[in-house]
């Protein structure tokens, strides 16, 4: 992963490259100039005061992106693991030259702090939606890692809660803020490829998983690892260290995610952007020959495909229209059916899917109250696509989604998989 991008490059990207990439919907990067002090420091009144919750590997990377921003002040860390709390506090205190970063085992203590504007949520996926909702209700803006939700109902409630509370929500879908992906989506969205016939996403392993109940082992001391808080809204099970840090732990509730959700929350999200963030497909078919085909209301096909990609790195997407096609991946490169699609533009190649630009987009939105690229509505739609595909995958048959109420048509088993009860006392 490309963690370091020099400041000049980053700034030049923000101010010109995306625009030249033709991403017409670029969010404003306006910060009142009074926010910038004479020496480049940011006065306290203009800083975004941040707390971090669940700061493990990914969270540390995200936090690094936040700490690069001059207008961020990170003051609190919460984690169910003591070792992580201590490690993050050390990072923050070293950066600021003080001892001020507070440590918390219960995230509600962070949400209760009135001096915190926004939270970075990088827990396991089990917690993402629930914690985001608690944060929004507490008046915090939210940068939340993906996958953001565990089922369709959570996706809808996430969207509605962010609207109701007026909070800024940015899903950790950082590819929306990378120029080559933005340009590829722009070509599709603005008709440069003609009428879209097929768009492709790479799920990197289509599988449906169920959460399990592993044999009980002796739990660690609660101060070291708070197992009850780690489980959070997931149905109860005894402590087993194999479930700790499990990348795929409980990410989908009743049936879960696998590659469709894990990667789809990125690549399906890009496909959704390519179709202008329209409502999700209405039909999802059982997988056949390594592909799962969904169909939008206008006939465009969204295809989850494991093979057949041009080697452009992980998380590739491909958009095909009657006038051309484009394929892009995590290498930062894209391949076009014709160089004329570039129309003389230069699109900066940024490989390694850095989140720096996405974090900046979030911070600007916090200040302007505009919608960031990975906003709740976009995330809601993309996640519904993934959950619906997973339900078709799990039931191994076609399901049809009614966009009026986001229920499956005459399909009780599928509808029962739209949501799942949370463990007490948590609510969504």
């Amino acid at each position: 992963m490309k963690k370091k991008i020099d400041t000049i490059k980053r700034r030049s990207f923000l101010k010109s490259a995306l625009a030249s990439a033709g991403a017409a919907a670029v969010a404003p990067t306006i910060i009142p100039s009074s926010a910038i002090g004479r020496d480049g420091a940011v006065p306290p009144s203009e800083r975004v005061v941040l707390g971090g919750i669940g700061i493990g590997n990914r969270g540390n990377y995200d936090l690094g992106c936040f700490l690069e921003q001059k207008d961020v002040q990170f003051i609190a860390v919460c984690d169910v693991k003591e070792a992580r709390r201590l490690a993050v506090k050390k990072i923050a205190d070293t950066k600021y030259g003080n001892e001020n970063c507070s440590m918390h085992q219960d995230f509600r203590e962070v949400l209760d702090r009135k001096d915190i504007d926004a939270v970075l949520i990088a827990t396991g996926p089990n917690w993402h939606a629930t914690m985001s909702m608690y944060a929004a209700r507490a008046g915090k803006d939210i940068y939340c890692e993906k996958p953001c939700t565990k089922n369709i109902e959570q996706s809808l409630i996430l969207r509605d809660t962010m609207r109701r509370t007026g909070r800024i929500f940015q899903a950790g879908t950082q590819r929306r803020n990378l120029p080559h992906f933005a340009f590829a989506c722009y070509l599709a969205r603005t008709g440069k490829l003609g009428k879209l016939s097929k768009i492709y996403a790479h799920p990197a392993g289509m599988q449906a998983m169920m959460s399990g109940w592993l044999p009980a082992e002796a739990p660690p001391e609660k101060g070291k690892v708070d197992w009850d808080m780690y489980l959070g809204p997931a149905a109860w099970r005894p402590f087993n260290p194999k479930l700790l840090d499990g990348f795929n732990f409980e990410k989908g509730g009743g049936l879960v995610g696998g590659g469709v959700l894990e990667w789809g929350s990125h690549c399906v999200d890009l496909c959704q952007w390519a179709v202008d963030d329209c409502p999700p497909p209405v039909e999802y078919n059982a997988p056949a020959n390594g592909e799962l085909m969904a169909r939008y209301e206008n006939g465009t096909q969204l295809i989850f495909r494991e093979k057949g990609w041009i080697p452009l790195g992980s998380c590739p997407v491909r958009f095909e229209g009657d006038k051309g096609w484009v394929e892009a991946g995590d290498s930062g490169k894209m391949v076009l059916s014709s160089p004329e699609l570039m129309a003389g533009r230069v699109v900066e190649e940024i490989g390694g899917y850095p989140a720096t630009f996405h974090v900046r987009d979030f911070l600007d939105a916090v200040k302007t109250r505009s919608q960031p690229k990975g906003n709740a509505e976009a995330a809601c739609n993309a996640h519904i696509v993934c959950h619906s595909a997973n339900i078709a995958l799990f039931l191994n048959r076609q399901v049809k989604l009614d966009l009026k109420n986001y229920e499956f048509i005459n399909d009780e088993p599928a509808n029962r998989l739209r949501s799942e009860a949370l463990r007490e006392p948590w609510r969504i």
Binding site: A24, M210, R345, Q371, E420, E424, R427
Partner: protein, 625 residues
Amino acid sequence: MRTYFRALLLSTCLTVSTACSASLFAQVQTMEKEADLIGVLQNGAPADKAIACKRLAIYGTGESVSELAKLLPDDSLSSWTRIALEAIPGSKPDEALRNAAKSLSGNKLIGVLNSIGVRGDVAAVDLLKSKLQDSDVQVASAAAIALGQIGNEAARKSLTQSLANAPAGARSAIAEACVLCAEKAMNDGKSDIAIAVYDQVRKADVPSQRVIEATRGAILARKEQGVPLLVENLRSPDRGLFRIALATAREMTKGDVDGALSTEIGAASPDRAALVIQALADRNGPGALPAIVKAAASGPKEVRLSALNALARVGNASSVSTLVSVAGEADADLTKGALQALAELPDQNATKEILDRLSKADDKLLPVLLAVVGVRRIEATDLITKALAKKDKATREAALKALGATVPPDRMDVLLTQVLKPSFVEDVEVARSALKTAAVRMPDREACAKQIAASIETSSLETQTALLDILAAVGGTNALQAVKNAALSSSDPLKDVSSKLLGDWMTIDAAPVLLNLATSGPADKYQGRALRGYIRIARQFAMGEPERVAMIQNALMASKQPADQKLILPILEKFSSIEMLKIAIKMAGADDLKEDATKTVLAIAKKLDGKPEVAKLLAEAGIKP
């Protein structure tokens, strides 16, 4: 125990593959009748019961409910059984949850109340009302939220009546539930009720976030009559209320919101005005533009910068005059903002306006408009070319850059001439850069390369070098041939530059050219450079294994220095295969390479662990794994 293993088998196998999960699921679906699952609930181990709850969530009926309900007091299984009880349709789960609520307490009661809310059980309103008074504020809060989710008249009345006098700990949840009720009233077309509820919450002693939510609702519920309340909050000293007003302004579809925001731009502090402009631009309504253009033209700098940013998204031809004027100002930030806006103006009529202004531009504005033409990529070769004769160097440079960005294929000669016979010698570097910019965007790169290559022979050495560099950036067959010719020439400087360019060539067709250079002619430093370029292609480019093996063998035959041969070893390891292993073993036989090649042999062998041939080949070579 049998069922436990079956459930574990199910949960394990479902992770394996699509085909596996599908077929196994179908099998289990047939096998697992509801009665079997109920049996598990009665007699199974906790893990079996948990999985059975999940199955019943999908396929259970009212028949399962009584057994599921028995698990509600269970510390381990209460959450699992509610997964099923929330999902099973019909009245039986509702009855079971209501009954459980009468006897449970603490978190388990909260869980049950949450499930009642999710199911929207209207018959539970009286029960929930009673729980609103619970001494445990978490229970009271859960009851409140459940009432909000039900949202009928009875629920709403109980909530609004409780709001003022509820314990402080429960008041936030009651206010949140009131907002849920108000939303439901709005959805039912009862905006008067919604407004009353929102206003009550706005004025209640509740946390500020609840007031913010109610304020948003109160503005939206009032529709066009909501504008004064919007303005009131845009002017609020409370940052939270100001911010929710900004967000709500973006959501409003009724009333003269654009007018109100336009007025606020002038009335608000510069910091706030800058943010109001962004909200106005996001609305992109018909009344937005005049105020934004006005703000861009003059006033506090932060407001102007925000307006320029906004014009990039919502400006049109009428904005061009102001933007060109700002682009000509002395302040670099404003100039940059204006140029950016001019580059991105979405309106195509803006292009006509810019061209018209370019044709009439005075010497001061000419470089600005040339820059605009360049960034907008407007084809105006004749107008731009005229500027190449201007005395002002900055103007000429702007013209050359604009040509680089815009010149069409049939006018490439204009730029080529500026490289071959520049009007002003001091412009030649900019001209070369512009030609390169133009050349790499040409749709027919072969034709472009042919045109450029035709000029090489008659050019000076310095120009030849520049043209070869441009050709390398263009790529393709013609460019490759031209660079190859230069590499084979008798000119040492040309051989130098062309062998470097070939060494970095970005397509695989440079391989035979590099091999030819590496193996023909007198031995010199360019041969070694060509060989290393050839090896780079074998290392970096996608190709089939037979092709890569052939390239490696060619490279080995061509290489005379152990240092070059060692460059091959990482390729063998990267693309480990039996063939690569054989080559590595062969290389390990050479004294100069033995140590490094043996390491590679072992690394490949490790990657190919399990292939029977590996041990045999290692044994034959006398290399111990």
